[in-house]
């Protein structure tokens, strides 16, 4: 079932076209990462889904309802990119307030505080919280009332690596209960195993929207192979494998997916000359660059 349907949506502020002809669908339990640099239109797109910003053209439906309608809002959990809760309130008071607005029991709010790891600090004023702790308050309020759609704008900014890991555990649990999750991010490496689909935006356009493995196949970015030899044998090895010598004692090679196995066989055939091998598939960062700036690469 389609939880979020975005059809050919555009948004213009006068001459500035923030979002142009974007179509994107999210089904139940799907985790989609929205990538793009600052000003690519990610936040504007989310704001339109929330009903905070009117569309210039196109249509958006949240569970078949127009964005911003009371029912649509009741079904959405939203974590804004930068939110500063009132410093005079404690984390618990702030979350209880949001629970009341969503018609959720305060017990649920307390459970969520525990889920995001804030129980020890919940009776302290938010003004004393670190950035990561404030982000956790934001995440907890987005999870209130089992949303059908979670919109998380830069959710991991300000979180340390362990907290990021915990954050994605929570996202996984959320998706397992059927919530569609749309999250935007700059931190690409952590998304690799944690999302079902990657959508890449640049200058208001949606340039790619597929699973990571499909994006890899379509991009045909080479796999990087690095073979470590010795200073004496590196030149000889580079000649035999067809690569280039780097760092004095290593050989760097590039190969497409289909040629990978035969190349590795060739390398093992060299026997004792090989001291070590590194095989690196195209990273998400390279993919992102490939899709977001295709024209410059063509030149």
């Amino acid at each position: 079932m389609t939880v979020l349907g975005i059809e050919n949506v555009s948004k213009s502020y006068g001459e500035v076209h923030s979002v142009q002809g974007v179509s994107l669908n999210l089904g139940e339990g799907e985790r989609v990462a929205l990538l793009g640099h600052n000003g690519a239109g990610k936040t504007t797109l989310m704001r339109m889904v929330l009903g905070l910003t009117p569309l210039t053209s196109g249509s958006i439906q949240v569970l078949g309802m127009p964005p911003g309608s009371r029912k649509a809002r009741a079904a959405i959990g939203f974590l804004p990119e930068s939110v500063a809760f009132h410093g005079a309130l404690t984390g618990r008071e702030q979350l209880h307030h949001f629970a009341r607005l969503k018609g959720v029991k305060r017990r649920v709010a307390d459970d969520l505080l525990e889920r995001v790891g804030l129980t020890h600090a919940m009776n302290r004023k938010i003004r004393t919280y670190s950035k990561g702790m404030r982000q956790r308050v934001g995440l907890a309020q987005a999870l209130l009332g089992q949303p059908r759609l979670a919109l998380l704008d830069e959710p991991t900014s300000g979180l340390d690596p362990i907290s990021r890991h915990e954050f994605y555990d929570i996202v996984d649990d959320l998706a397992k209960t059927g919530t569609a999750v749309l999250l935007s991010s700059h931190a690409l490496t952590e998304l690799e195993s944690r999302t079902d689909r990657i959508a890449i935006m640049s200058k208001g356009h949606l340039l790619a929207n597929d699973s990571l493995s499909n994006l890899r196949k379509a991009a045909r970015l080479p796999i990087q192979v690095r073979v470590k030899a010795t200073a004496e044998t590196a030149d000889d090895m580079a000649a035999r494998l067809g690569g280039s010598r780097v760092n004095g004692a290593s050989v760097a090679l590039e190969v497409q997916q289909e040629g990978k196995v035969s190349l590795l066989g060739q390398i093992t055939g060299l026997g004792d000359l090989v001291k070590d091998i590194d095989v690196t598939p195209a990273s998400l960062e390279e993919l992102y660059r490939h899709y977001s700036v295709p024209k410059q690469e063509g030149k």
Partner: protein
Amino acid sequence: MSSIAIARIELLIARRNMWVFTSLILMGLFSSVLTLAGGAPTGTLGVDPLLIATTSITTLSVYLIPLIGLLLSFDAIAGEAERGTLALSLTYPLSRGEILLGKFLAHLVVLGFAVAVGLALTAGLTIWKYGSADLNYLPLLKLFATSLALGAAFLGIGYTISALAKQTGVASGIVIIVWLICVVLYDLGLLGALVADGGGTFTKTIFPWLLVANPADAFRLINMPTDTVSTLATGLGAAGQASGFAPQLASLLLWPIFALGLAWGAFRRIEP
């Protein structure tokens, strides 16, 4: 229901931010001082001591209540817009009208509480000094009700400014200017016009209406007894009473509705 949740959190914030305490101290202190000092000149005149006290307190409230109302409200929308909590609140299933109503209820409670404590102190001190016999409590109740109306009007004006300015820094500057205009400059302007007119048609026909159009002046007129006391208290009083009770009451009742309507209109147009 959502309005109650908003009112609840706003009351909590007002308490933490010492707004409740500050307005309480302001109203309590001034009411006590005016009650104790205001009774001194009456002595054996035989005027109701409570009447003297309420007259002094009215004069002061004309300045203080709009100020407290504006100070409570100027941050209400601009502050949330700046912190980013406004956008978040608006993604929850509640309307902007409910948010505004909730904030208004909370701020009116803070203001009403401060005024009530001030007037209770006045009543208590008067009884302590003169005994409870022959006291007329009606002016006190009238002062309380009209104080709420005056406060509500300036809360609405404050929300409007807050919504239009969108930045707390700008909003705080504007409310001080608006306060100065409403409680000081407006009267000075009218006084100047009166002097220039020298008792002509302006004084008789337009002036009473202009005076009552300002909620602060309507508040002053409605709470001032029509005898000589008012003439002593304010130079504008005597001429102002020409408009009568009904327009004064209408001004005090319509201003809160008008100002809150304006605030709602301005708030609705905000794209957080």
